[in-house]
């Protein structure tokens, strides 16, 4: 939005002499309803216009990377759930993949399918919260109740699958903990049959609603060059028009066997890379996830779901770097093994960490209220930033 009329008026008067304006420093957070966790911004504002917004993170730092060095390879899986508790499956998956790569373990086909099914349900789960809370942050309460309602069914499905509704601890090194429960696949299909038309309903309710899009279009434009330079990933990168998805461009698991599109921002209502583009990419990704889920449930082969992995797991010394496409994009795991029962180092590079680091750059000259739109459109999840 840039300089508002009000601001221009103040500057005009100040230039004429008489009125003196002065910057104001505000502390937004750490407890603030729209920061999605505990997150603080120090905002320097001139009236309603931000000069800069400096993120202050670390309030949710639980030293998960240090814990990894203390609890051993198998023991770390429940902790990975807590890296990003809104999309815990992907963290399970990343860690399991890193361990499997270090020890050269092949996951049985059915186990891979179980993983992808769980991943894509988790993506729906996370995107529903993201788009719902984004609408709520911008003042539209009803869409939130709609998305949360559907998310609740997903919680039930997850509970039946692995006993948890949020921190799943479903995947293991070498596969998954449990096979799909009998009849569960039909429940997922039933959910998808009901859910897919609802995405159209969300679109009618909010996506192209003038009141809503006015808050997003042309706000906080991120150019494709900046998106790559700041290492934005996932929907934030694709919102800037770059068609890159780890699932298709650096495929892992059984994604090469599945057919789906990668939606990108097109600047259809305003400038390429604005808040709306990032939002609409998530809406469209939900449809693709539904497509993937249907294919998986049709194609899933019989067989074991987990490979034989010794309880006393000691991968050979070495390091590896694996990436999974989480709901917040490419999540990179750099893991070093020294051949013992404990990881030597585990570094988790998350999507939100990169996304929040671009805020000082994009927030300049935005209205203060637009910071909420920026946070929501980047889908920041505080635990994932701080780990």
């Amino acid at each position: 939005m840039g300089l508002a009329g009000f601001e221009v008026e103040v500057q005009r008067r100040a230039a004429g002499g008489g009125v003196v304006t002065e910057d104001m420093t505000l502390s937004m957070g750490p407890q603030h309803p729209s920061t999605h966790g505990v997150l603080r911004f120090v905002v320097r504002a001139d009236g309603e216009v931000m000069k800069e917004a400096i993120p202050d993170i670390g309030y949710l730092h639980r030293s998960i990377e240090k814990i990894a060095e203390k609890v051993g390879w198998h023991g770390f899986i429940p902790y990975t759930d807590r890296v990003d508790y809104v999309a815990a499956m992907f963290c399970n998956h990343g860690w399991a993949m890193a361990c499997e790569q270090l020890a050269a373990i092949a996951v049985p086909k059915r186990g891979e399918y179980c993983r992808v099914i769980a991943d894509e349900l988790c993506r729906l789960h996370s995107h529903l919260l993201s788009v719902g809370s984004m609408a709520m942050d911008l003042g539209a309460f009803t869409p939130f109740t709609h998305t949360i309602r559907e998310r609740e069914y997903l919680n039930d499905l997850f509970e039946e699958l692995c006993g948890s509704r949020l921190t799943f601890h479903y995947m293991r090194i070498g596969g998954v903990g449990w096979d799909l429960p009998p009849g569960w696949g039909d429940k997922v299909l039933h959910f998808l049959d009901r859910f897919e038309p609802l995405i159209d309903e969300y679109d009618r309710l909010i996506s192209f609603n003038k009141i809503y899009t006015e808050r997003l279009v042309d706000v906080a434009v991120i150019s494709p060059e900046d998106a790559v330079d700041y290492n934005l990933v996932g929907p934030n990168l694709r919102g800037s028009g770059i068609r890159y998805d780890v699932r298709t461009d650096d495929p892992y698991s059984v994604y090469p066997e599945l057919e789906f599109d990668v939606p990108v921002g097109r600047g259809e209502l305003g400038t390429l890379g604005d808040c709306f583009d990032r939002y609409i990419v998530r809406m469209r990704e939900m449809r693709e996830s539904c497509r993937i889920l249907r294919q998986c449930l049709r194609q899933i082969p019989d067989g074991p779901v987990i490979a034989k992995v010794p309880r006393n797991f000691k991968p050979p010394a070495g390091d590896c770097y694996v990436r999974v496409e989480s709901a917040r994009g490419d999540m990179g795991w750099y893991v070093v093994s020294d051949g013992t029962a404990f990881p030597h180092r585990c570094k988790i590079r998350t999507g939100s960490f990169a996304a929040i680091s671009i805020i000082p750059k994009v927030s300049r000259d935005l209205m203060l209220a637009d910071l909420i739109a920026v946070i929501a459109s980047l889908d920041l999840v505080a635990p994932e930033i701080d780990r």
Partner: protein
């Protein structure tokens, strides 16, 4: 481009400042002399046949046995779709590495994290402050010899088990 040919070009340009090709998969790459890393990084980003436009990960790793702190740069090129990993071995008692924030903006916060958790001094970094830990936290927690303080501002960091008789 294959890692081996990228490595050959690096060797051609920087000579002995670049070590042998090691590692496999995504972490295939070479060790670089600490003082030369910023220069090597800038060249890798700029060189038309390489175009490493993305710093995918910057990780610090403590190797007390070798007495080094290794900074690992995992690089990726979105345009040319190839990978390279650079490693810098900095002495453990005084790890100093030139910053690469001028090459990739993503390095800014990742270097702050490596400084915070491992104490790597990134020389020339515009704003090298702690990022995850409190500003007055003693030491760098991801170092292998880090000892957790007994208390922080009067708050005990340990608790007796309620299950003990």
């Amino acid at each position: 481009m294959e890692a081996a040919s990228i490595h050959a070009r690096l060797r051609e340009r920087f000579g002995d400042a670049v070590g042998d090709l090691t590692g496999s998969g995504r972490t295939v790459g070479a060790t670089v002399e600490p003082a030369r890393i910023a220069e090597v990084a800038a060249w890798l980003r700029r060189e038309p046949a390489l175009l490493f436009d993305c710093l995918s990960t910057l990780a610090g790793v403590d190797y007390p046995k070798r007495s080094v702190i290794q900074v690992v740069y995992v690089l990726y090129s979105y345009r040319l779709r190839h990978w390279l990993t650079l490693r810098v071995d900095a002495p453990r008692d005084d790890p100093r590495v030139p910053t690469v924030t001028g090459v990739w903006s993503a390095a800014d916060w990742q270097e702050r994290e490596a400084f915070d958790l491992l104490g790597v001094q990134f020389e020339g970094h515009p704003d090298l402050r702690r990022i995850l830990m409190p500003e007055d936290w003693p030491g760098h927690p991801l170092r292998k010899d880090f000892v957790e303080p007994q208390e922080y501002h009067g708050i005990s960091t340990s608790r007796e088990s309620l299950l003990k008789a």
